[in-house]
Amino acid sequence: MNSKKTLSQAVTTGLWALLFSSFVQASAVNVENYGYPITDRFVATVVGTPPEYTADLPEIPFRERRITIFPERQTPDVFFYDAQLLYSVALQRNRAPLIFLIAGTGASHNGTKNKNMAKAFYQAGFHVVSISSPTVNNFVTAASTTGVVGHAQKDAEDIYRVFAKIWDELGKEIDVTSFHVTGYSLGGFNAAYVAKLDDERQTFNFERVLLINPPVSIYNSISLLDRMINNIPGGMDNFDRFVSNLLRAYTKVYNEAADPVGEDFLYKAFQALNLQDEQLAALIGTSFRLSSASLVFTADVVADFGYVKPRGLELNRYSNLAIYDQVASRLGFTDYYHEFFFPFYKAEYPDITRDKYIAAISLQEIADYLSTAEKISVMHNADDIILEPGEINFFPEVFGDRATIYPIGGHCGNMNYKDNVAHMVATFTQGERP
């Protein structure tokens, strides 16, 4: 009798535990009473965090360095200045943990977002090493094996090689207790694949990894971003008028501001311009298009594929590039995937189909790994503009309570909000949210 009761109790408890754990698996940490002030996702994406809400961060010794990744490589003369990879460091005097930061699409090692993260982690006692996105032309030219970036595994291998080369040099100067990695946007996506690679190769044995606003499927996200440029009134033929009007308005605010270098300038300028969502989408699309035009041309020069530049034609540092710029500006990232990226890798792996390739460039592809990798956590926003409707659910489903979903913030708009900064730092110092 007694034992029967115990058994049924145990079974019931077990059932409850199972139910409860599956419930927890499916629900991320949802943030309540969140104080980030911008509710419009486009505004959040463009403006970021208003100054009175940002974390209080110190000035730090953030120094640029350069490193040769492929000593044998002949750099195309037109990109002679990109023979070495540029990166930044902020180093502690004493023995400390080290964190690598990977920037998002088109962003450099010393861009605002990486610099702010560097400040937060340096303040928390970390050595910081910040690298550009593999989509930045300096990285493509100096550190990409093929030049044809956007390949989840190959980009991760390139980044991993860069980390290792940097560590070869830094290891002589500093004492490190443990290694960590984080990145935002595409950099967050890269960080996931880098973590997986590290599990196989075990050079760093990353202790903690944080993915900030990563895409789920690269192809879905670039399609969304490509389409945003259609918001330019009158289409691409009015590209210059659109940009110059914006610039004009911006300059007007700039000239009227008493202190245009003040950190709240961008926010004030934005308020004065009073842009609508369509214009903001057009602005985001434009900025993305400028990055993609530059990237595809660089990839074409490095790989000599014949995408916009005739194959075999060698450009030099004095060459006039106007025509390549004009042509590349008319092409989206999706064109790059279909007409350059896919045919390029198809030659290497003849069996692969287009759909398989598109499916493979996603976090879904490594979902099994991600669901069990306890060291990896995610910080995301429910209203992120680079996700298709419903895609956000991927994170609670796969990461469970290792995913924190903020209700607002757009795409990376809340990264400098004080709660988010505290969250980022706590992920690496305590392993959990504050």
């Binding site: 990109f79 200045y81 990109d82 540029l86 088109g106 962003a107 450099s108 930045v136 032309n137 300096n138 033929d237 590209f239 210059d240 110059s244 610039l247 004009r248 300059t251 007007k252 000239n255 009227e256 501001a257 008493a258 202190d259 400028l290 990055s291 035009a293 530059s294 990237l295 041309f297 660089t298 074409d300 020069v301 014949g306 995408y307 916009v308 530049k309 005739p310 194959r311 075999g312 034609l313 060698e314 450009l315 540092r317 004095y318 060459s319 006039n320 590039l321 106007a322 025509i323 390549y324 710029d325 004009q326 042509v327 590349a328 008319r330 092409l331 064109d335 007409e339 350059f340």
Partner: protein, 253 residues
């Protein structure tokens, strides 16, 4: 002072002469000899499509050479000096020195606002100079900004533009970077005014020399632009367009 004026003049004249003499190097390769790429202008651009970022740049070959020279000068000379300065000089001193030079520039703005017959800009810049030169101790403290006095910036290039002179050909100046023929000529009177003020204000040779040495260092330290680090593969022409657009807007303001 005359010597410095002459040296600055000679740089500009030499630049212009170089510009006039230098035959533009062949920058367009013989594209026809190579297989056609997947995407060509014919395929993507509408016929007669103007280059939306076009800027009149007849001396592009020479400009690119100077642009390259500036990159190397920056990398091996100028920026190391700036970093040394930032390492030695305490932050508050750097700010003070920067304010001091801003005060000089406000005087240039006064002079040009007068030439443009622009009373508001003249009043603002005069107000700034008066407040900063007195309460602000020779300009080292920017009291005017604390008081919320806006800071218009006008130079002789803008004055010429104000009276209808166009930018002329794009010009990359050695050491100084992107400019155009109009603004390059405008450097001369601005430099002259500056020298006169400097002679009036600073009596000792040491002060004169220190000011002359620190001026370019402070300017570079406060200019975030780095050659070939904009992240654009088309940097030369993007910067050229942004610069000339900015200068047009500066004149219209």
């Amino acid at each position: 002072m005359i010597q410095r004026l002459l040296s600055s003049l000679s740089i500009i004249i030499i630049t212009l002469l170089l510009a006039a003499c230098a035959s533009t190097p062949q920058t367009t390769n013989q594209v026809a000899d190579y297989p056609r790429p997947i995407f060509t202008a014919n395929r993507l651009l509408p016929p007669d499509h103007p280059d939306q970022l076009a800027v009149y740049d007849p001396w592009e070959g020479m400009n690119k050479r100077i642009y390259n020279f500036n990159y190397h000068f920056d990398r091996y000379v100028f920026l190391p000096v700036v970093r040394g300065y930032q390492w030695i000089m305490p932050n508050f001193a750097q700010t003070g020195i920067h304010n001091f030079f801003k005060n000089f520039n406000d005087m240039i703005t006064m002079f040009n606002s007068a030439l443009q017959l622009a009373p508001q800009k003249l009043a603002k810049s005069t107000g700034r100079v008066v407040v900063n030169s007195t309460i602000g101790i020779l300009g080292f403290i920017d009291v005017a900004t604390m008081l919320g006095i806006p800071r218009p910036v006008e130079d002789f290039g803008q004055t010429l533009g104000h009276w209808g002179v166009g930018q002329g050909p794009y010009l990359v100046l050695p050491f100084l970077g992107p400019s155009n023929v109009r603004d390059s000529i405008g450097l001369v009177p601005d430099f002259y005014v500056r020298s006169v003020i400097q002679d009036e204000l600073l009596k000792s040779d040491e002060a004169q020399i220190t000011t002359t040495v620190l001026w370019p260092i402070d300017t570079r330290a406060n200019t975030s632009f780095r050659y070939y680090e904009t992240g654009s593969a088309f940097e030369y022409r993007t910067v050229r367009w942004l610069w000339s657009t900015k200068r047009d807007l500066d004149v219209q303001q």
